[in-house]
Symmetry: C2
Subunit: 343 residues, 2 copies
């Protein structure tokens, strides 16, 4: 059933039916009722492509997921974020189109999306510090919003980020309050913006207490279990090994638990571990977390909010860029590890 058929059934012109369905004011209320009823009855759905061709809009938003040959891993948080964004899109009548892209191909993909006109806007994931994608999208005039931030980009743009710096600064402060001074940092890959910000939070907390920074205690890498295992094994061989660790994700923390266990130590008792796990908060179901975690209330909600920002931008392109900084929620589990103040 298309518009032509529907208007034939009603004995009206396509124009009138279209107007009735799209809420134009000039159609009489009686006609509108009839039209809407008939559309409902025949479960008429306007053809997206035809509508798009006529209006110049595609009613779709693209998410571009970069996959480098370096780190092939897909962030486990990704599904949740997408789910949240999907809810907003559905509510606003947008489709979500996903492109998984080798990072070497990214520029071409963005340009193509624009010229093929199959999206009205784009969400940029996993920004690096001076991410070239932002200038590119600004250049071609495609509305976009970034999940995260690119610190070294000065011009304003839409973004939503979690306050990584403050989370790590607070977590470090927490450990410092317990009397820890040797705190290992297991960060993500430091070309990623989030990792850079987390590191600066860690450094600032140490600096504020006048504690010197030991480069041997700072690692960055892809967040696998094995990364945590090996990093901690190596740090434990240092003459003055850490009494606490700050970790960028729960995944390496699993390896840490194992490394400590191999050394006869228990995580959360002999050694403190704090993870920032917006990644895997669904691993924990109850309140009995043996880690102290800096977790975000909901990745999904973040997806929803970022989608809303982008939709707003698309419907009113004159609107100035929106930004949103979410504060990580700190959750204290059952055990926090040793309190060195008591010694």
């Amino acid at each position: 059933m298309n518009l032509k058929d529907l208007s034939a059934v009603l004995g009206l012109s396509q124009t009138t039916v279209s107007r009735a369905l799209n809420g134009y004011p000039e159609v009489s209320e009686a006609t509108r009722q009839r039209v809407v009823a008939a559309a409902e009855k025949h479960s008429y759905r306007p053809n997206t492509r035809a509508k798009g061709l006529a209006t110049g809009r595609s009613m779709a938003i693209g998410h571009v997921i970069p996959v480098s040959t370096q780190h092939e891993m897909v962030n486990p948080v990704f599904g949740d974020f997408i789910a949240g964004a999907g809810e907003s899109y559905a509510a606003a009548g947008y489709d979500m189109v996903l492109s998984v892209v080798q990072d070497s191909q990214e520029e071409r993909v963005y340009r193509d999306m624009f010229s093929k006109g199959n999206v009205d806007g784009i969400v940029v994931h996993a920004p690096e510090m001076q991410d070239p994608r932002i200038a590119l999208l600004q250049g071609i005039g495609m509305p976009f919003a970034v999940h995260g931030r690119a610190s070294d980009i000065a011009t304003p743009y839409n973004w939503l980020d979690i306050n990584n710096k403050s989370a790590f600064q607070r977590a470090t402060d927490f450990l410092l309050d317990l009397g820890h001074t040797r705190i290992g940092l297991l960060n993500g890959l430091e070309n990623m913006d989030f990792a850079h910000r987390r590191r600066s939070g860690y450094l600032e907390a140490l600096h504020n207490r006048g504690i010197s920074v030991d480069p041997q205690l700072m690692r960055s890498g892809e967040m696998t279990e094995n990364y945590g295992y090996q990093a901690v094994q190596q740090m434990m061989e240092l003459p003055d090994s850490p009494t606490a660790y700050l970790v960028s994700s729960m995944i390496p923390a699993i390896g840490i638990r194992r490394a400590l266990h191999d050394a006869g130590l228990v995580m959360g008792r002999d050694v403190s571990v704090i993870t920032h796990d917006d990644d895997l908060s669904y691993l924990r179901n109850g309140d009995d977390v043996p880690l102290f975690t800096a977790t975000r209330s909901s990745v999904r909600d973040a997806g929803r909010q970022l989608a809303d920002i982008l939709i707003g931008q698309i419907s009113d392109p004159t609107k100035p860029p929106q930004t949103k900084l979410l504060e990580a929620e700190l959750t204290v589990g059952r055990s926090t590890g040793p309190n060195l103040r008591g010694r």
Copy 2:
């Protein structure tokens, strides 16, 4: 730059240019060269919507992700699978459109996708045993492929599945060979097809050895860390508690490790644990896995293969449905837990 502009530049008709670009045989090689060069030079990209309108195809494939209010969790494997599928789509010139859908809304969404005509085919995720979506899609004549299977559906359709039954049967056999007879099963939600198959593999292995089944040792639930923690805590209170566990995902295994630890036991030494972790194989980086895992070589590759099946179906609708059963790869880690044969 659109077709009209491009043909004007070349002094040819739109038709000829279109034919040259789409590889039609009747255009002269000389003209084709010229056209292709000009298209390249002006980086011409045909408008997807217009092309779709004219051809009746949308060059897009939909993935529908059901999210029930019951289990809100998004499977962490999802991102990897999607990444694999995305590669195939990109190679074949398809876009991927994602819909995250409340399961109550699913039927409407499928019908809409069809009548709005914005996808040429659909991938069905997370099938239940007699999944109604399959009949629905067959009814409206939309090409589709299922990631997994729906056991109770008799009519043929495209699917790709991992051999869940054989994986769990082999894993159970492995434990039986070690002398275990009390084996706890921590399964996923049993309305899911995969969980049902895994359970039957477990049962068959026990049956083949004449070992009676204890319903108290079989659990099903959503695969969270806490589920593993609580299930094992409760099973350990049984008079004859399990010496081994078979787990549907690595996530509950984390809780199991904790529950055992609380009881002074070490997973992989005092108690055997086998997980089926196509979920989180990226947790493990090296060869030093303390679990025996039945893991699939690559979720990503599975995504690629399923996409290829669907693409094949779309390009030739007369082709009979394809199916593909992947065999889980069994990986033995450092330690397998106690060998009861020696006692």
